[in-house]
Amino acid sequence: MRVANKTIYDIIKFNLGNITEELNRANKVVATGKRITELSDDPVGLTQALNIRSSLSNIEQLGRNISMGRSWLTASESALTQVQNQISDARALCVQMATATTGSAERASAAATVQNTLEEIVSLANTEVNGRYIFAGSKTDAAPFSRDNDTNVVTYNGDNKAFTMKIGRDATVEVGSDGEAVFGDIFTTLSDLKDALEADDVSGIQAAMSNLDTHFDRISTKISEIGSKMLRMETKEKIFQDLNITNTERLSKIEDADITEAIMDLKAKELAYKAALASSARVMQLSLVDYL
């Protein structure tokens, strides 16, 4: 085929242009470390990458939620365990004071102990985490239990919606508690016990004893509930940690360039460019005019 001079130069220009474009691209990949710099580099991969990034962000957030939930549950557990101890101490005291051998003086001092126990439990019921009361239902900004000094009556100021937190896409956990449901009328029981002790009322003491049993059982149930919730959250946390790792790996596979591969590619393109330049230079110099 007849080759005009123009063809030679056009082809040189076109090929050099192509090679510089590829060289530029290889350079970009090495410089940014990312396979995908433009949407069009790998559109399907990019959509996957976007979805994974969104999942990762969500998982991180749920992880934060779980941390906060666990701190609430831990605080609840420890507060309730102490309440339990107080109750069993009070019950032991009841057993002691119900015997006929105790005198009113001992009963009077026991009444003072019971009053202390009552106030201690009120304080425990007003436990807060980071300024928010965990036994107040959803009214977490104010102490749920307040005791009237004169009448010794404890009123509940919270509400009955336990504070809930999201720990998964379709999973919520109650990390706070409805104080009324947890503590019931334990304060009335203790107050009555104190009055019974002061009045030397043995039947009153015994009635209080069986009430204390009921309260103890209820708090035990609550503690094991909290325990199983904490277990559930731990499991969820582990799952999220695994998901985090898997997703980060997947994201890296899609987005990140294999540096070794990228650099080899760059070197290959560089070599091709040099070769093209050399051959073009030689061809461009040939002409019949030199020989005439």
């Binding site: 007849r2 001079n5 056009d10 076109f14 433009e38 949407l39 990019l46 979805n51 509400d159 919606k161």
Partner: protein, 587 residues
């Protein structure tokens, strides 16, 4: 003529012919780099012979004409391929700009901001009374809205740029067709004899090629040598020395029209199939139009979804006064119809909502909520009837602003809040909503929330009218919206049929990711087509140049050839001169 005179005559013709040959070779050499030039060569013929004395003698050479090596078929093929290439080249350029707008590698990309938005609602659900969480959500929502606004504005700017390019191209096209008409005239004049106007034809081919880069053309050569140029829809651009112009017209001045003689116009916008105009019109009317509509659809659904849930909630305090953010165009029209002028009129259905009134200590007045009904019977509920119903409630008053918005004010010492809206009318009127606007260009954050972050509705009102600062029911519900699939409109745009609405069921983030992916796929496919086309153009160019291109080696050889022949012909004169002298010196 015979005898020595014949030799002189032959020699004279020979010298002339070789000289023409050298002239043509020189012309070729000079034009070796001229684009669109077809190499010329002299066509020589032996002159008619004559009989003399029983012998048939030749009379030498004559140059009949200068031929142009040009295969018009290949030229036409090349022109069409270049036309396709120009179209794809322009589309590729603009798609790269479009890709850049949706750049997902920066932290300000919309997908990153959407993910953070939902996370901030989690944070509020974890600590509903926290001031820093509320400020965080508010500031982030402002940034995100601005990002949507900027993207929408950028798309609009691209559309304007494309329209400007089309406008400039139309002027250019008119100029070229005019010139082609003039050249047609010149060619007819020059070719009156048997000659071909080689260079003029080359020039005309170049002009047609330039024209083809802008718009698709078909050419036909008439018997008198003029070229007829036809474009989309069979509209004639050049015929003889008449040229017909294109203009911009239509409602928005963005349709390309052909002006016939006698004032008729034809809209050819949808029928242009290649050239830069095709590329620009594809980008403007099909691609960018579609993504603009999609982005607006996404924003509209996003705004509604968040607003609808947010209007069910209550902040840390009840309202003193509230003004709706969406306006009606007619106070008396039923709210659920398009005549009301509301952006979200189609989301309103029959239902009720509760208004709770609180006194200065926060206690509920009236023992319960006032229930306002929205229904489509008996003329339907208009803004006026809602206003009247609310106004009738003790301790609050309602008015309609001159802009068509509902305004509710509480009397001194009283506050109010809402719950249980099954009609969606509160969200549609923009009362107790989070976002304002209904498009990507118009999305913003409700100024009520801006004035006081306490109005971010994380809680919900209980059946007894109370609400707690630690209640996160509404915040949890809004955080759940991240996973909710909904029907979001998705558009397809076509230059001939306009834009048609389809539907995609997915989450908000899913829709945006799909949009980014679809832009990437389109860009990649256009890039590939362009590369393929470029190879075709190069191949055809090569073929065309192998026929019409100048090879300096060839021309150099020709020069030598003609030079020797010239020398030989000159020798002929010397020899016949000597012979004549010999004859004349005979005594």
């Amino acid at each position: 003529m015979s005898g020595l005179g014949l030799v002189f005559s032959i020699a004279k013709d020979a010298v002339a012919a070789q000289r023409y040959g050298m002239d043509v070779a020189a012309h070729n050499i000079a034009n070796v780099n001229t684009p669109g030039y077809s190499r010329q060569s002299p066509v020589c013929e032996a002159k008619d012979r004559f009989k003399y004395g029983g012998l048939i003698l030749g009379r030498g050479v004559k140059t009949t004409h200068i031929a142009r090596s040009c295969d018009q078929f290949i030229e036409n093929q090349l022109m069409q391929q270049k036309s396709s290439f120009s179209c794809l080249e322009q589309m590729d350029n603009y798609m790269q700009v479009l890709e850049g707008l949706f750049n997902e590698n920066s932290g300000n990309s919309i997908s990153a901001m959407l993910a953070d938005f939902w996370n901030l609602w989690h944070d509020i659900a974890n600590n509903p009374a926290g001031a820093s969480e509320r400020i965080g959500l508010y500031e982030h929502s402002i940034s995100m809205s601005e990002q949507f606004n900027a993207l929408s504005a950028d798309l609009s700017q691209l559309e304007t740029d494309l329209s400007n390019a089309v406008s400039a191209a139309v002027d250019e096209i008119n100029q070229i067709t005019n010139e082609i008409g003039l050249i047609n005239n010149e060619i007819v004049g020059m070719e009156a004899g048997k000659a071909t106007a080689n260079d003029l034809r080359d020039k005309r081919n170049t002009l047609v090629s330039e024209l083809a880069e802008y718009i698709d053309v078909k050419t036909f050569e008439q018997s008198n040598g003029t070229l007829t140029v036809i474009t989309a829809r069979g509209c004639v651009l050049v015929h003889g020395n008449d040229s017909y112009d294109l203009e911009l017209g239509g409602d928005n001045g963005d349709r390309v029209k052909w002006q016939g003689s006698g004032g008729a116009t034809a809209d050819i916008t949808g029928y242009i199939t290649s050239g830069k105009l095709d590329g620009w019109l594809n980008m403007r009317d099909e691609i960018i139009a579609k993504y603009k509509l999609d982005l607006d659809a996404l924003a509209k659904e996003f705004i509604w979804t968040v607003n609808q849930q947010h209007s069910q909630g209550v902040g840390l305090e009840a309202f003193n006064t509230v003004t709706g953010t969406y306006a009606v165009s007619d106070n008396g029209e039923e709210l659920g119809t398009v005549d009301s002028g509301l952006d979200y009129y189609n989301k309103i259905s029959d239902g009720v909502f509760n208004i709770w009134i609180y006194d200065s200590s926060g206690a509920v007045i009236g023992g319960g909520p006032t229930v306002i009904t929205v229904d489509s019977d008996s003329g339907g509920t208009s803004l006026t009837s809602i206003k009247d119903a609310i106004d009738a409630v003790d301790n609050i008053s309602a008015t309609i602003t001159t802009g068509g918005r509902l305004k509710i004010d509480a009397d001194n010492g009283y506050t109010f809040a809402f719950s249980g809206d099954t009609s969606n009318v509160l969200a549609a009127l923009g009362i107790n909503t989070f976002f304002t606007g209904a498009t990507a260009g118009g999305i913003g954050v409700n100024s009520k929330i801006g004035s006081d972050n306490n109005f971010i509705g994380a809680a919900q009102i209980d059946d007894d009218g109370t609400f707690a600062s630690g209640d996160n029911t509404n915040a949890l519900a809004i955080a759940d919206l991240q996973y909710t699939s909904m029907d979001i409109p998705q558009w397809t745009c076509d230059r001939i049929n306009g834009c048609t609405e389809g539907n995609l069921t997915t989450t908000i983030e899913g829709y945006y990711h799909a949009m980014a992916g679809s832009i990437g796929i389109k860009a990649a496919s256009i890039s590939r087509s362009k590369a393929f086309n470029e190879v075709m153009v190069n191949k055809l160019s090569e073929i065309r140049d192998s026929i019409s291109g100048v090879s300096l080696d060839e021309e150099m050889t020709n020069l030598i050839k003609f030079q020797h022949a010239y020398a030989a012909a000159a020798k002929l004169i010397t020899v016949s001169d000597e012979m004549l002298n010999t004859l004349l010196s005979v005594k």
